[in-house]
Structure formats: C-alpha cells, structure tokens
C-alpha cells in the first residue's frame, strides 16, 4: 500500500493529462485517417494515409507552409532584436523615467490580437490609412498603396503588426533575465578591464542565454500556430498570399467543413512544431536545468 501511494496520488494528474491532452490528440490523428466532411457525416470511409498523400500534392499546403516560414522567421527575428534592445535600454541604470517607459512599452501585450488586427488594418488601409497618408506627405509614395490587397505586401503587413505586438514579450522576459544578473559580475569584469562590448558578450549574453532560448522557442511555436491576426487583417488573402498553415487548418475545418483533411493538416502542424523544437534545442545545446526563468 505504501508503495502504491505515490502512484495513487499521481493518478489524477495522469488522468487529466490523458483526458485533456492525449485523448484529443489521438482523436485528431484517427480523424485524419478518415475522409470526414461535415456535409456528408454518414459517409466517412477509412482512407489510411490518403489525406497525407493528398497533402503532399496540395499546392495550397506548400504555399501556406512557405508563408508560415516567412511569418515566423521575419516576425521572430525583428521581435527578438527589437525586444532585446528595449530590454537593454530599460535595464540601463542611466535611463531616466524608466518606470513610465516600462509601462508604455508593455502596453501592446495587454491588447487582444483581434483589436491589434483591426487597428493595423485601418492604419494600412489603402484608401484612408494613416501609413499611406504619412508616406505620401513624406514624399516616399506618389500614390496610395493597398498594402493588404497586394500579394507582395499582404503577408509583410501582417508581419509588421505581429512585430509591433511581440516586441513587448521579448522586452518583458529578457528584461526580467537581465535584472537577475548579479551586479558583482559586471564589477568583476570592470576590474579586469573589460570593455562594454566584452562585458556584453562575456557576461550579459551567457547569463541571459537560457531566457533567450526559452522565449525564442515559445514565441516561435506561438507565432507558428497563431492565425487570428492574419484572419482579421486579410483573411489569408489576397489569393492565399498571406495564408499560413495554421490559418489553412482553420479554413479547411470551419469554412470548407473538411474535418478529415484539416485533421491531417493539424497533425502535420504538430509534427513540424515538434521537429522544430527538437532541432532548435539541439542547435542551442539547451538543457532544462539551465533555465533561469
């Protein structure tokens, strides 16, 4: 009885994980092996890996995957770089009015994705958008540009909104990590005659690396799965120019009502996230025990 006690105590947790994590995942996987269209619910033949084979031939899938790569990589790079710069700035002892600035900087994170999308859609509006107006007044544009209605600019416009939103996340997390670095390390580096550049690379960078790895990983997965910003701004258009894989899953399931195929797409999305996570952790040589946040 004594031996069984730990397992008994853990059982509720296992049951919860099984019920709320593994069961839905298994259901989605099983659904992906069937042809299941909601408009024909009585006719759901087992097709094995047929949906996955169809996915490989689906030009929309490959296009969406490529868009997802652009969406994640460009958003993430700028969010990280700008967020890190902001965190360093906020961490600077000489920075006056830090408290106020901190509150302003963190504000976007409190705004819902839906509102952000609406705000940016208006800013980039082709007829009455502020961005168009400013660029024309500055002499950078001759005539109005429909940023969201041109294939070349639609996805990048969504990326721009995403960067604005996500910089804050990196700033918050990295600022917390910077605050945790003991000042004595900088004092020691100073006494050893290190330049500011050397202090950054030899003290700051290694100390915040665990925070960077975790935040980049989390944010990459979130951005990869995040569809509502694009959905509200462009609906994935025009002509799929801004459709990402996550949005494609949504469209297939809730607009096309093809639950079988969208389940297969969802499984692919999960597998890609897992592969990315494994590769990323391997490249960054990250181990959980390093985590400081």
């Amino acid at each position: 009885m004594k031996k069984a006690e730990p397992y008994l105590l853990l059982t509720p947790a296992y049951l919860l994980i099984a019920g709320f994590l593994f069961y839905p995942m298994a259901t989605v996987f099983l659904l992906s092996l069937r042809e299941y269209q909601l408009m024909d619910p009585l006719n759901t033949p087992f097709v094995g890996l047929g949906q996955y084979a169809a996915m490989l031939d689906d030009e929309y899938f490959w296009r969406s995957l490529w868009n997802s790569v652009v969406w994640v990589v460009v958003s993430l790079c700028f969010q990280f770089l700008l967020g890190f710069c902001l965190a360093l700035l906020l961490n600077s002892a000489r920075f006056r009015g830090r408290g106020l600035f901190q509150a302003i900087v963190f504000a976007p994170w409190a705004v819902s994705g839906f509102l952000i999308a609406i705000i940016w859609a208006w800013l980039l509006n082709g007829e009455f958008g502020l961005v168009n107006d400013l660029l024309i007044r500055a002499g950078l544009l001759d005539e109005k540009v429909g940023f969201l209605s041109r294939g070349e600019t639609a996805l990048l416009s969504c990326v721009l909104a995403n960067i604005w939103f996500g910089v804050t996340f990196f700033a918050v997390m990295l600022f917390a990590a910077l605050q945790a670095i003991p000042p004595s390390l900088y004092e020691a580096a100073d006494m050893d005659g290190a330049t500011a550049w050397q202090s950054f690379w030899r003290v700051t960078a290694p100390m915040v690396k665990p925070a960077i790895v975790i935040t980049v990983l989390l944010r990459a997965i979130w951005i990869f799965n995040w569809a509502d910003l694009i959905w509200v701004m462009t609906g994935g258009g025009p002509a799929g120019a801004s459709r990402t894989l996550a949005l494609y899953v949504f469209q297939k399931a809730f607009l096309g009502l093809d639950f079988g195929y969208s389940a297969a797409l969802g499984v692919a999305l999960t597998v890609l996230s897992l592969v990315f996570t494994a590769v990323f952790l391997r490249i960054t040589r990250f181990h959980g025990d390093e985590a400081s946040i």
């Binding site: 009585l42 082709g126 209605s149 639609a154 025009p238 002509a239 469209q251 809730f254 607009l255």
Partner: protein, 445 residues
Amino acid sequence: MIPRRLTRRDMLRLGGTAVAGAAVLGCGGGDDRRTVTVFSPMGEVKNQALARQVDRFMALRDDLRVEVIPAPWDQGHAKLLTMIAGGNPPDVITATGQWMAEFRAMGAIEDLTSWYASWPHRGAFTRTALLRCESSTAIEDGRVYGLPLELTTRAMFYRKQWLDEQGLEPAETRAGWRALLERITDRDRDRYGYALRGARGGFWTWWPILEEFSGTNEWFDGDHNCIIGSPAHVEGLTYWNDIYRDGLAPSDSVNWGYNELVQGFWSGICGCIEQDPEVVRTCLEHGMDESTLATAPMPAGPRAHVASNDIWILSISSGAQHPDGALAFYEWMMSPDQLIAYSKDASVLPTVKQGMDDPYFGQGFLRPFMDMATDTKLLQNWYPSYLPEMGEFIEVLVTEEQQKMLLGRQSPRETLDRLADFLNRAQKRYVDRHGSDTPRPPAAS
C-alpha cells in the same frame, strides 16, 4: 500570535466546506422554466429583430424561456451542421431554402404536417412564398417541414447624390450599369463606382452575372459535365473582373467581405452595392435617407434577368429537447401579425398576403425588392448545394481563384476552368454514391 499550521483534518474540513458551498451556490438561483433554443443565422439586423419578437413572446408566456442562438449568415450553415452532427441541435431552426433539402435528408427537420392541417392561419401565406417553400423542399408532396419566415432577394443600392450630380438614373441593363460606374467613379475624390466583394462571399455577386450572360442557371449538362466554363460564362466573369481591373472599385476591395462591403457603401467610398433588403436598415441607421439613398431592381444581363431569390424558413428540429415549447413559440411566431411585425422591424419582405397591401413594403426603399421577389419571369439564381464539397468550393476555392484573377495572375477563363475541374470531380463522386438523378435548378418560366 504564531499562526497554527494547517493539519490534514483542517484541509479536509476546508475542502468539504468549499465543495458544499459550491454545491449550494450551483443549485441556487436556477431558472426552472423550460428553455427553447432558436437558431438564427440571418445576420445581425434580422437576428436582433427575431430576438425582439422572442422577448414579446416571453412576456406572454412566463413558463417558457426562449433563447436565440445567433450566428453570422456566412457561418450559419457550418454552425448548424456542427450542432446537429454533435447531437445538440437547437429546438427551432431558421434556415434558408438552399439548406432545406440537405437538413431534411439528414433527418434533422420535424414533419409538421398534422399540426399544419388544423392550424387556423394556413391560408395566410402568399403564393410566391409557398412556391419557394416547395422548390426548397420545405413543403413536399403535401407534407410540411417548414413555413416561410421571410422572402429575400437582392436589389441594387445607389448613393443618390452621386447619381443626381451626373444626371443619372439607376441602370436597367448591365451595359448601362457599367457606363454608370464609369461616370460616378472619381479617384481624385476617393469615389469608386462599385463596392466589389473580392473576398469571402464574392461568389454570391458574380455568379448571378454569369447566369445573366449565359442565360441559364444550370451547372451541369445531361452527362454531368460542368458547363460553367462556357464562352458565355467567361464573358460574364470578365465583365465582373474588369470592374476591378479598370479601377471602378477600390483596390482594397479584393479583400472585402460582407462587413467591409456594406461599410464601404454607407461610409461614402462607393456609389453602389447589391444587397439584401435588411441592409436598407443598416444604411438608415448610418445616416442615409431619401436624399442620399436609392434602391432599384438589379440590372438585366444580355441573355437573362436574374433574381437572387431565396427564402428563410422556420422549422422545428426533429431532435428538439422541448418539442411542446418549440411548437408553442413556432405557432405564435408564424401567425400573420407576428410575421408582419418581424418583417417591418427587420425591413425584410413578408410572406403573408396581408403584407402585400401594406404600404410599408409596397413603397419606398423596399419596393424594388418586392418587384424582384414577385416577378415570376426572372431567371432564378441557383447553385448545387447538394454537393458536400460546396462549402469548400464557395468558402475556400472560389475566394482563392477569384482573388488570383482580380490580381491579374490568371484569366477569367483559367479561373472558371479550375472551378469547373473541381466541380466535375465533386459531381462525379455524388453520382457514384447517389445515382445520376441529381437535384436540378428551377426552370425559367
């Protein structure tokens, strides 16, 4: 005082109290009235009008609670399907005529024939409304599965001031309409002729044009080959595409769905849109009036004059949780007085004879809608809603392909060829499963 540590017994006591408290709270304050659910996917204006009717009903019946489950029109079909497939259907269903055959085939709709036989208002409906019920299979071979809540059709909305400035009248033909768009477009003043629906739902605006140019509402020939790629259909799609390509609609409109479209009209960017009658109410709410708004019948195409007619039907779900309560609401709602009250509130077309003589519907902004809805000579817009792939076709494929065309990446011919290719496969699958006797469009009279 040093706080005492909580013992296991204390924890159990606290936990027990919390659970008991929660149980008491959970039980208290409940509403013991029976709740009847009404699914209403008709769009905001109409959903709210129906909700106001429900409030009036509840004021009369304190033993029943009626809950409206609203949904945007373009998500209504998917949501209703999900509710039914998930085993949680609403008690009362509002559905368009286009969905009726499908939901009946699923066994989701209750047979109301015996109730209808003794209903005192059975003679109240107009002939047009009953015919539409029959063509949608809500009434079939004398059996009744739903009754007409409202007629719906499309007409053209114009910014009257823009027409007056140019000395123009609403166009009667597509050629005249194109010329009108050119006249009222003035890009220097941020004025565009047409609020074009380039994103979701664009299909509902360009498909009737293809019917006007081809003179038919058929999609497949006798051998089940899709015919929407014919030269006449291509001509129709080219006409629609050219409106955008020639700058008669805003460049952003390639991404416009319903909301942007209607907003683009009342906000003064665009000179006209085609829409359903309830948009009259939206325009009036945004400050338009007789001096700034005009409505007119849809222009006729070279080979047909098409009416995008439909009907909203009220039915009772075969899986209703509270069939008696559902029928009580249904009976009250379908009485002529309530139908007229609802139609006026939502500014839609009535289905009962007593509405035909009401000046509210026969004059003013709703007159062109009434003319379109009751003119039996017009070609009836139709699409093959029996194909399970139609959801994907309209919501995903068409949007993608029409946007490619609007951006100049493919021609109207290529667009229709790709769509026809998809439909050929869908039709073949349907014929393989259900036989070659597929539903057909209503014939032109």
